[in-house]
């Protein structure tokens, strides 16, 4: 039977197993909306701004490992989606974004609501397509999902002109597609893996550094097995938190600009660095010349262009983390050699000394609410088992430092692009994917206002997100840099004319709470968590002057960390 292009598109989504489409209608996609309306398999979530749709799909993807799907109209619909597409691209998140386009015959004529979506998105997608003929529609959708989810994941845009959705054709969804120019490597090179294992066993001061790739590979359990077998210290990037249990004694927490003292010092002094699914980002590396000066480096990554991009490595392995780590485990089991226990014991003694500095300590006797205290309490109250999304700023770093993630896919934040406005819509995607789970959105009074309109979406779909607003009346992260590097000239970083967040939440039909005293933090959080089916917006009035420590200033090495003033005097 012949179907319209719109019907074909919706059938493709269904056959791809898509649960939710996040979107917003408009002229160019009205046939698609009409087709969505006439079926129940694919559920549509109506956001309040297309940026929200992309972040929601992104949160869905990060918390499930499945691709997120977005549908927006041409022109302004597509341009509004760009921030979310770029966010997903920077963090390698699998997404398929369908953008409406003007009729094929009108393309290039500056038609109403026409933008060159393929051109505009090109630098921030893994790939994109313009479907000019209905005969190509189903195959293109299949290719889009295939590209988004294999190899190094990423967003794929499919631009669909209105007439293509209107025409009719036979429908058949290809079981699989192959693209002659695209063959992501899965298995690592055996010789390289052998070399890596030799180097790992020869280490006196080893360090394992892992990132988001472990999470996308689903390699958390194999990584944990190998790390325990070896008894080596391990650190996670901001994107890799949860890939190895944070509460385990071998975990040194996060590394990098706001990483722990022990993680960064261990990086600086290690003699063998085992980098797995991490991309040596500048917030992690600091000044390249000072990076791991004594280490020989193994790097496992599925994307050859991640390898030796900023830091030259000694044993590159292109492949999927789970495959490679399992192979390493096999070789380690066969090997008669074991790690040098005496050297390792000495190394741990040194690490434990660094640990004893207690770099995340903060003032617990303050009469003001310390943001760290809120997050620590959130961790305790949710027993470490919540999904936590975050916006961008100081609150993001404190969440990363104080919420100890023991499981992957639980910590959802924008690392690469650092997109304020991400947290709330991302939490919507997470909550839809995990209706019974506790989902907390850690945010700041500046970030939350970038996508605040999504409170309305939360109301429509009854999403009981717990918004933890760490309200310091400042763009805190900006203020911190201005304090450190601009002699305290706080240019435009003070947040004036803030709304009454309690009333704002209430006007959207939610519950609002304002918490001003440290002693109220825990009771309020407990109360909010009891309100299982309601969104609770918790406005915590926090200490305005608090800074994130440790901190490595840009252009410095791991050994040049600043600790909090109190620590540094000690």
């Amino acid at each position: 039977m012949e179907l319209t292009g719109a019907e074909i598109l919706v059938r493709c989504l269904k056959d791809e197993g898509v649960e939710y489409v996040f979107g917003y209608p408009g002229g160019a996609v009205l046939y698609i909306y009409d087709a969505l309306y006439q079926q129940d398999d694919v559920k549509h979530i109506l956001v309040r701004h297309e940026q929200g749709a992309t972040h929601a799909a992104d949160g869905y993807a990060r918390s499930t490992g499945k691709p997120g799907v977005v549908l927006v109209t041409s022109g302004p619909g597509a341009t509004n989606a760009i921030t979310g597409i770029a966010t997903a691209y920077m963090d390698s998140i699998p997404m398929v974004i369908v953008t409406g386009q003007v009729h094929t015959w009108a393309i290039g004529s500056d038609a109403f609501q026409e933008v060159d979506s393929v051109g505009i998105t090109r630098p921030c997608v893994k790939h994109n397509f313009l479907v000019k003929d209905i005969k190509d529609l189903a195959t293109t959708i299949k290719k889009a999902f295939y590209l988004a989810t294999t190899g190094r994941p990423g967003p794929v845009v499919v631009d669909v002109p209105k007439d293509v959705t209107m025409h009719r054709a036979e429908y058949s969804y290809p079981e699989e597609v192959s693209i002659r120019s695209y063959h992501p490597v899965v298995k690592g090179h055996p010789g390289q893996i052998k070399k890596a294992v030799d180097l790992m066993l020869s280490a006196k001061r080893p360090m394992i550094y892992t990132g988001g790739g472990v999470i996308w590979s689903g390699a958390s359990s194999s990584l944990t097995e190998m790390t325990r077998m070896l008894g080596y210290p391990i650190t996670n990037t901001l994107m890799g938190l949860g890939a190895y249990p944070a509460t385990d004694k071998q975990s040194l927490g996060m590394l990098g600009m706001h990483g722990t003292y022990e993680a960064n010092m261990a990086m600086h002094h290690c003699d063998v660095l085992i980098a797995i699914g991490a991309r040596f980002d500048d917030r992690v590396v600091g000044k390249v010349e000072y990076f791991c000066p004594e280490a020989e480096i193994v790097h496992v990554d599925i994307d050859p262009s991640s390898i030796s991009k900023s830091v030259k490595v000694d044993v590159p392995i292109v492949g999927d983390v789970d495959h490679v780590v399992k192979e390493m485990i096999r070789l380690l089991k066969e090997d008669k050699r074991t790690p040098d226990q005496a050297a390792l014991a000495q190394w741990w003694d040194q690490i434990n000394e660094w640990r004893a500095v207690n770099c995340l300590k903060y003032d617990r006797n303050s009469s003001l609410i310390k943001p760290q205290f809120v997050l620590e309490t959130l961790y305790n109250v949710t027993q470490g088992d919540a999904f936590v999304t975050s916006d961008v700023g100081q609150h993001q770093m404190w969440a990363a430092q104080f919420y100890k993630f023991d499981k992957p896919n639980r910590w959802i934040n924008s690392g690469g692009l650092g997109t304020m406005g991400f947290g709330l819509p991302a939490a919507m995607g997470v909550q839809l994917a995990h209706p019974d789970a506790t989902v907390a959105c850690v945010t700041g009074e500046a970030s939350i206002q970038m996508c605040i309109q999504e409170l309305s979406t939360c109301r429509q779909y009854g999403l009981p997100i717990k918004v933890i607003n760490l309200n310091n009346r400042y763009m805190g992260m900006v203020r911190q840099w201005q304090e450190f590097f601009y002699e305290g000239r706080y240019a435009m970083s003070y947040m004036e004319a803030l709304p009454d967040f309690v009333k704002l939440a209430e006007s959207y039909g939610h519950i609002g709470m304002k918490i001003e005293k440290p002693s109220d933090v825990e009771p309020a959080l407990r109360e909010a968590m009891k309100l299982k089916d309601r969104l609770v917006f918790m406005d915590f009035i926090t200490d305005q002057t608090e800074n994130v420590y440790p901190m490595i200033a840009q252009g410095k090495g791991h050994h040049e960390m600043h600790l909090s003033p109190e620590r540094e005097l000690a």
Binding site: V118, G119, R122, P123, K126, H127, L130, L147, I179, R180, S181, Y182, D303, P304, S305, S308, K309, K312
Partner: protein
């Protein structure tokens, strides 16, 4: 160092802009770029000349390979290879200068492909240096117009870039 990268790429609209966009977005330089379909009309062959340190050229080839439209590529400068560029050059050729110019064209194994009372149009093929040398030899006052194709390259011997 100068590198000549040969690319087999899907012959689709937009493929060229992906390559060009990659270079501008990442700040790599393109010295020249030529592209045309191959005997298989679904594929285009691109020759791209760039300059950069070994690390940069390694990143360039990795990033190019990552483009979904790129089917295959090689860095020709890694082995023995032949490079050619074609130039069409229009010269002021009147009176006495005509004989002298004709002799120069012969020396460089060029062809005069169009003639008027006052001009010669010359076709010349060779390495970039040979074309530069010809331009030098005729001198700037004689030149009315030059069109250069950019470099095309191919590996020597059995080695070939195909599917």
């Amino acid at each position: 160092m100068r590198h000549i990268i040969s690319i087999l790429i899907e012959n689709e609209s937009g493929a060229l802009s992906r390559v060009a966009g990659l270079f501008s977005a990442r700040g790599y330089n393109i010295e020249s770029l030529t592209v045309a379909p191959t005997e298989d009309p679904s594929l285009s062959r691109m020759t791209l000349v760039t300059r950069g340190s070994d690390e940069i050229v390694e990143q360039i080839t990795k990033q190019l390979n990552k483009l979904v439209d790129v089917v295959k590529l090689i860095d020709l400068t890694e082995g023995p290879h032949i490079e050619r560029e074609m130039m069409l050059i229009k010269l002021r050729a009147a009176g006495d200068a005509r004989e002298e110019l004709k002799r120069l064209v012969d020396i460089f194994r060029g062809h005069i492909i169009d003639v008027t009372i006052g001009t010669y149009t010359v076709e010349l093929t060779g390495t970039g240096e040979k074309l530069d040398a010809f331009i030098q030899a005729v001198g700037s006052t004689a030149i009315l117009e030059t069109v250069r194709s950019g470099v095309s390259g191919i590996a020597r011997g059995e080695k070939s870039l195909h599917l």
